[in-house]
Symmetry: C2
Subunit: 682 residues, 2 copies
């Protein structure tokens, strides 16, 4: 599924799941399922084993996972996680994304314009400190503010004390709060990437399918003080990889799951949120495709966005099919009814039932906010939004600000805001026009905010004027505005700044309403979690939050349309797959592969599948054996895995990885990178 992005941002929050089935679970590193692992797989991970895995794992700010694979700072992730950087480095003269890259020495490694890598170094339970700020008398709005302020203070104190990036994470839908401390790396350089044709062999057609033949990997290196970082924890390399049926682990950052949603909340997703999002994606896909078809340079500019949108669209189509299946909701409802029956049978637990009711009650407003939202994903607009909100929020004490404007996160925010990455006006106009047009549709053309936003023009004219006349594409201009604070922003005549200021009050109103609804849901889901523990004695793993988790599973094929699908594909199989598709795009192997055909061992595995529980955000996660060695890297799930957001399944749903042996062989004998190949795991 090209699972690097959180394909859907829901307003709902997360919590633990009732009963784990098969190899289900995205486990917290400070609460690994030792008993389960021991009983099911006879494996008992030591503290050292777990800590080594944790410290060898890396999170990409652009939305994926990765691992350290050498003592001198090599970081292995997916090509599609690297794509954002590859596109930002590209120019009309050289397209790193399409053509790939190999640095011939440290001095040729290419600095990424705005990547931030995070290595999780410690976890601390701060639940009591967060909850102490909230009293029973507070309404949801006040409770949310108090809770946010408490979290902000904890983060700031930790930053002051340790100098480490410090994030308080909400887990189990609000039942737990953990403080995560990260080592940050912001000097990150590109070492090697294959051609997009090989990383994404089979293109949108093969995406989410299996068997696959993708070399979806890229190598970066982290630097400190201008030199390759010396890394204590990194993964050893296993060329042999895992055997059929072998237990493997996945250490990565699953973005977001909604497995704990009540039936009412799932119906909102099914009937409102997902269809709304799917319409948006299809509209955007068509527009970017139109843009790209104008010629090769347009294609280069539009490629990253197009890939992202198509990937999400394909995922959401699968999710919609899954949720529209009456069996899905029926199973949800049945499990819910069972639990409610148990609760109602015990007088001391009956009060828990109210939690479901409270979630049902907020659904209509959730739907309303969906259609009335003020949110544009367009670079100029995002910059304007950040500059204005940062200036305004900075007028308040740090703990009272919107989360992302607190002083503890300022460094990361500025790293992104002042990125020198190129912005293509023509592409931005195409993207923004669709979004502004949908904004008009959602609120209606007579809505006063719409009238003010359009300023008498149609969406395309208005967007063209805003973007071509704005100076926000200049980093110095942004820095200047940021430096000038609230006064500079209020005086600014930049049209995009002024445009955002028109929308700002409604933007704030909607956000505050959403956060208040989320607080209500948080409290309700925490109650449901408590209810489950009380009634069924079950505690498990929390819904995903784009923080480090450990999943496990076994390498295993499956059945599709009555056929056995083998768990492995090989390097040689890629050539067959090309021939089967008549060597037509997107099934054309790069020239390097054809040139090297006789040099490579065709039986070495290229991709394999396992039952590990993954989701968007896990892209680039290392797959690890019991010995703690690197055996592969997650890059996709199969199409049957697309409902994993809402329910784990292991009959046919599979995680898809690139095989350690295939990576080393390709580096050595196809990409002429023998030295680099030797460094892996050393």
């Amino acid at each position: 599924m090209r699972i690097f992005q959180r394909v859907f941002v829901t307003v709902s929050f997360m919590m633990s799941i009732a009963i784990c089935r098969g190899d289900e679970g995205m486990w917290l590193f400070n609460n690994l399922p030792r008993k389960l692992l021991n009983e099911k797989h006879g494996f008992d991970p030591s503290e050292e084993w777990a800590e080594h895995i944790m410290l060898s794992s890396v999170r990409f700010s652009s939305g994926g996972s990765a691992s350290f694979v050498s003592s001198d700072g090599l970081v292995l992730t997916n090509h599609h996680v690297a794509a954002d950087t590859l596109h930002k480095l590209s120019t009309p003269e050289f397209n790193y994304y399409d053509k790939g890259f190999l640095a011939t020495g440290h001095e040729h490694e290419l600095k990424a314009p705005d990547l931030e890598l995070n290595q999780l170094v410690s976890i601390e339970d701060v639940t009591a400190r967060v909850n102490a700020a909230v009293t029973a008398e507070m309404g949801p709005e006040k409770a949310n503010k108090a809770r946010q302020a408490a979290m902000a203070k904890i983060e700031q104190a930790s930053l002051d004390e340790t100098g480490l990036r410090s994030d308080v994470i909400t887990l189990f839908g609000g039942a737990k709060y953990h403080l995560y401390r990260y080592q940050k790396y912001t000097d990150v350089r590109l070492v090697w990437a294959p051609e997009s044709a090989m990383a994404f062999f089979g293109g949108d057609m093969d995406n989410f399918e299996y068997p696959r033949y993708c070399l979806d990997v890229a190598l970066f290196r982290v630097y400190e003080n201008g030199k390759p970082a010396v890394v204590e924890h990194f993964l050893k390399w296993s060329d042999a990889g895992p055997a059929d049926g072998e237990l493997v682990f996945v250490s990565g950052n699953p973005g977001s799951t909604d497995r704990a949603l009540t039936t009412d909340a799932v119906k909102t997703l099914r009937d409102h949120s997902l269809p709304f999002y799917l319409n948006y994606l299809c509209r955007l896909e068509v527009a970017i495709q139109q843009f790209s078809q104008q010629g090769p340079e347009f294609r280069r500019r539009g490629n990253d966005d197009l890939f992202g949108v198509q990937n999400s669209r394909k995922a959401v189509v699968g999710m919609v099919q899954g949720l529209q299946d009456p069996k899905f909701v029926a199973e949800k409802a049945e499990r819910e009814a069972e639990l409610l029956k148990e609760l109602n049978a015990r007088p001391e637990l009956q009060h828990f039932a109210k939690a479901w009711q409270r979630i049902a009650e907020v659904q209509p407003e959730t739907v309303k906010l969906l259609r009335g939202g003020v949110e544009f994903r367009e670079r100029y607009y995002e910059i304007a939004e950040q500059l204005v909100l940062m200036a305004e929020e900075d007028e308040k004490p740090s703990e009272d600000r919107f989360k992302e404007y607190r002083s503890s996160g300022r460094e990361s925010l500025e790293h992104e805001l002042f990125s020198p990455a190129p912005i293509y006006d023509d592409l931005e106009i195409a993207r923004f026009t669709v979004q502004l047009s949908m904004f008009v549709e959602q609120r209606g053309g007579d809505d006063p905010l719409v009238v003010a936003a359009l300023a008498g023009k149609n969406p395309h004219e208005r967007v063209t004027e805003l973007i071509t006349q704005s100076q926000l594409n200049q980093v110095d201009f942004r820095r200047e505005l940021a430096k000038g604070g609230v006064e500079a922003v209020r005086k600014s005549t930049d049209p995009m700044i002024q445009f955002f200021r028109i929308l700002e009050p409604e933007c704030r109103r909607v956000r505050e309403r959403r956060e208040s609804l989320e607080e209500t849901e948080r409290q309700a889901y925490a109650q449901i979690d408590d209810a489950r523990v009380a009634a069924q004695g079950i505690s498990g793993y929390p819904d995903a939050t784009f923080t480090l988790r450990l999943a496990f599973g076994v390498v295993k094929g499956y059945q599709e349309h009555g056929q056995e699908v083998a768990p492995w594909t090989t390097l040689g199989g890629a050539f067959d797959h090309e021939v089967v598709h008549e060597v037509r795009e997107p099934w054309v192997l790069p020239k390097k592969w054809h040139d090297a055909r006789k040099l490579i061992a065709v039986d070495i595995p290229l991709n394999f599948v396992s039952t590990a529980d993954i989701i968007g955000g896990n892209s680039g996660s290392p797959v690890i054996n019991r010995a703690g060695e690197f055996v592969g890297i997650i890059f996709d799930s199969n199409i049957q895995g697309l409902t994993a957001d809402y329910m784990y399944e292991d009959q046919v749903a599979r995680a898809v990885s690139v095989h350690a042996g295939g990576i080393r062989e390709a580096l050595r004998n196809i990409y002429g990178a023998k030295e680099l190949a030797e460094q892996l795991g050393k």
Copy 2:
């Protein structure tokens, strides 16, 4: 705009427009604007001139226009109007749509599987007879039924008397009813078509753009009793074509316009109907594209649908931009306010103001019906719907049936229903899955009708089951069911028949509600038309109804982004246009063109633009000079013309035609059809 299809079927009805601007107008042949033509262009068309044009004009049942261009039945239309037939004739072995065709003699001309061509032979005003059936006491539902029954009786009587196809047309939103009699041709054979690459040179990218270089034409021949029909009225041919600034006429069948809509009705379009339709189109476009990308045979199968959807999508995107422009609605509202002011100033006219109110009142239900609609555009479903409704409706007297099941139209209905054109299950599954999924979204997954329709499966599973198990793709099976009447249909175990029967009651309920709303609107729009005549003394042309109209305009360039756009392009220009786009798809000229490059006179015009007032349905309309000669054929409008549905504009909006000289030159020197070239106009 590839204007052959009615890009949008609105539930609203039509009426006359207030003030004609420039060369605005789609005039009735029995009420031509003689005074206007005389004053503005010094031209006074004789009765004979008009009758000759009318009888030389042809309507395609598949949704376009055409003309007779020889005494032995040659009919010239657009390649994209012919596309439906070209695809139906194609097989995996030979793709007529892509590769083109030239019959080397009458015996090689290819019979179209289900085309029906109509030649309008007479017009009669039957307003008094229709209105006599409706009394003031009737509510809208009863009034609609009485009116429909009266129309049915008139049609049947005319058919019995003349043997001609007889349709009563509602004009001016219900102020007038005219009886149109048509000569029908159902033996229609393909004579010549160029390659799609030339007919649609520049593809979706150039669609609706100008300058253009398209040979968007195809030749058919009508047969009677197995022989080429002898045609009395056909157009003479002018190789020279029109001069710059010359007056030209367009005789064709504009599909549908909404120029008379009140401001309230326009807002419904802007905020509801068009966005809804656009989301549907984008969802479908993405799905068919996915289907087509699986390989060449998939592409061949999906091509016709993909083109249709992309064409509509591009048009609707343009319409949405136009309607979302605050200036557009402001102008509408201003004109409306002026008229209302005049009405309110005169006590005897004040009662007319209620008509606007009545239209405003039906808008909320119009919106509701839009989202609750039961309508699938998928071949199996349409066949099931027609078979079931035909059987059920046949139980009633003809005049009480739904319009399309009256006995007067049975021959045309069966011609379509029993068409042997191929049906591709895989494509149908892809199309229907999107639509069924959207149906679930619109009504919600808990809706009882949705639950019944899905029968416990997700939309994709359900659709696959329905289509692969249905026998409705077999013409004999359809004939058998039709013959068996209501009993056979009720007993049928065909899953698609049973599926439609689940939906039938709701289908009927929605349709009846819609027709009742339409009757209310019809009466209100008729009032508004009366009001305009009373207050401003203006009468003009009715909104388009896919019936024959005469438009006029002048050949004229325009300004775009400060640049002059010349009215002409040439055969030679096509080669330059290819080079400018680096000879990349979709800008690759066919081999025949390159081979013939030295033989052709490169200065002969290929396409030209004029200010004539056209819309979807006008595709294939002949462009005619004062002498009544064929000078070109309409195939598109430019992108600025996309709001023509709602308002005529002649500053930059233009109709785009293929030039008579270019057609003859291409036939003669590129396609090796010298004989055919000589026959044109003779």
